[in-house]
Symmetry: C2
Subunit: 336 residues, 2 copies
């Protein structure tokens, strides 16, 4: 049995484990500083398909299928598939679930999806309902830009607060059987909105939610920042990372010496012209399943608080005058 | 501890309970045969707002807030809020979560969301992570039609297989503390696609998934149709209901004497010109939280297998040549 501690945190007493992860990225991410950590890089951002949406779906499919194969399992060994993505009606997830034929629970948490899916997978395992669950998400620069902002064919100029949606997919195999990495705590986020309306400033829209979840995690668990080797947010980029660090500091926690952001790490700001950094569901997903899990497995990291951050941006409702709410979910991941 | 039985079914040994539900419907639903069962009817389908999207969001908010009040609770007593809806980026759910300030897990299961949210709520409770969770969903005829088909202003003719998206919202209070109605089993669906591409024939798109989940539930639990007083699907309408009954019959289970569909029940086909019946996330949500819970509480029903059915329709990917997959999740609801 697990339990809830404090206001928003789940404690896993017989923890779920991250047995393995898989990450696929597109051509731009493959040129970035983390390239050596990804399992697969794709040079053709259409991935042999005719549209970006179909390319994104294929990336999620490949990530999940290759993760299953790499662990010498097959689809019948995976009891549930939990996924979500940025596309309207979560196309990539639904069609990947159709291909897999695994019982499916669809999620929408925008770019917080990687952690949301891991949290619900862990709850299912701790509750006794499953032994092997796959959690996955994806995003694609082309499909996201045209859905949320402007079609790439416009060739419009991007503001300096804008982020570059990561093309790729990540999947995690969450198991009941002990593996080397355990999930000890999860902090479920609240929706927080400080009034940002600019779809090209997602970092600022998400920072208050990220800070809230990080601070709440410390309060609920009694842990301090120095418990972790790394505290890493999903896709706040340069702007959101700076804001988050300040907001957390104001609450009395100094995370500066061990804080980073997947959106900052995934691209080389100077060479890759990505402005404020990477974003998209895949940003945190490929950094987790590529970089972080490999660093933990090689003992370069041992205790990580991983916080996926989502901007719940809806072009329709923003056009009706609403601002963009954010949400952030965190999981404590620890080497055994 | 719960357990998984058979291929897709969760068994709740220390069950979660449905303590109460709340249903709000629009003006057309208020003229239908189930009107006496709904908690609140709204004559103005804009609900005092300027857009259908904002009206829908307000309906979800009101349903949740009124459910909390009716049970003499406040937001602080509800540990998690689980919701999803049909709108792109699940607007209604995200903004309701912002209003509530309750830790939030966002879902996308199209019209299967009412059961998907109840299943995950029940898992959280059985796992020891929560005592009070609210599961909710909503839909609106105006917002759904313009997003998925054509703006209502077009005044286009509707085919006879078309369904009428229900305007409304439903919310369920799922508790650890014993109440009169328990959730004994949940069957998580697979995504199934038999090639339907017509956005005005959702019943046919969903029927194979509904039949699969119903048959799998019988196989996994060892129960037969006659265990239940009522087996009811979410929003298949006349076309999908007929197909589902046939598909289940082909698998050797005769459900005809106790099978119904929320989409068939909610409108008067002859008087209300709704063609194949009702649809939308709210269809099953208001029938469950209005009609079914009240019938169970008054002992007119005792054992219900409630199957919410979702057509994972995406206009974008259907325009790219894809067909419409379906999914169905079921919960066994029993009077104690």
């Amino acid at each position: 049995m697990g339990k809830k501690i404090g206001c928003q945190t789940l404690q896993f007493d017989s923890p779920a484990y991250i047995r393995d992860g898989y990450s696929i990225v597109g051509s731009k991410e493959a040129k970035g500083p983390l390239t050596e950590y990804f399992h697969e890089t794709v040079q053709d951002n259409y991935y042999g398909e005719k549209t970006w949406e179909k390319a994104e779906k294929k990336m999620m499919e490949e990530a999940v299928i290759n993760l299953i194969k790499a662990n010498l399992l097959n689809e019948n060994n995976i009891e549930f598939f939990l996924a979500g993505d940025l596309l309207n009606q979560t196309i990539s997830s639904n069609y990947t679930a159709r291909t897999l034929g695994i019982p499916f629970l669809g999620l929408y948490g925008a770019c917080s999806t990687m952690v949301e899916s891991i949290i619900i997978s862990s709850i299912m395992i701790e509750g006794g309902f499953a032994s092997n669950v796959i959690a996955a998400t994806s995003s694609h620069y082309g499909s996201a830009e045209r859905q949320f902002r402007l079609p790439l064919e416009h060739g419009n100029q991007r503001t300096l607060t804008a982020q570059w949606t990561v093309t790729g997919a990540g999947a995690s195999l969450i198991t009941k059987d002990q593996a080397k990495i355990k999930i000890s705590f999860a902090t479920v986020g609240k929706v927080i909105d400080m009034g940002i309306k600019d779809a090209s400033n997602m970092g600022a829209a998400m920072a208050p939610a990220a800070a809230d979840t990080i601070v709440q995690h410390f309060k609920d668990t009694g842990r301090n920042p120095d418990y972790y080797d790394l505290i890493i947010t999903g896709d706040l980029g340069e702007v959101g990372k700076k804001l988050t660090q300040e907001l957390v500091q104001k609450q009395g926690y100094d995370i500066s010496s061990r804080y980073d952001d997947c959106g900052v790490k995934i691209f080389d700001k100077k060479k890759q012209d990505t402005h404020a950094g990477g974003s998209g569901c895949a940003c945190s997903a490929v950094v987790l399943n590529g970089y972080i899990l490999k660093k933990i497995n090689s003992n370069q990291l041992k205790k990580v608080f991983f916080v996926a951050t989502g901007a719940l941006l809806s072009p329709c409702i923003v056009q009706q005058g609403e601002s963009i709410p954010g949400i952030a979910h965190g999981v404590a991941i620890e080497k055994i």
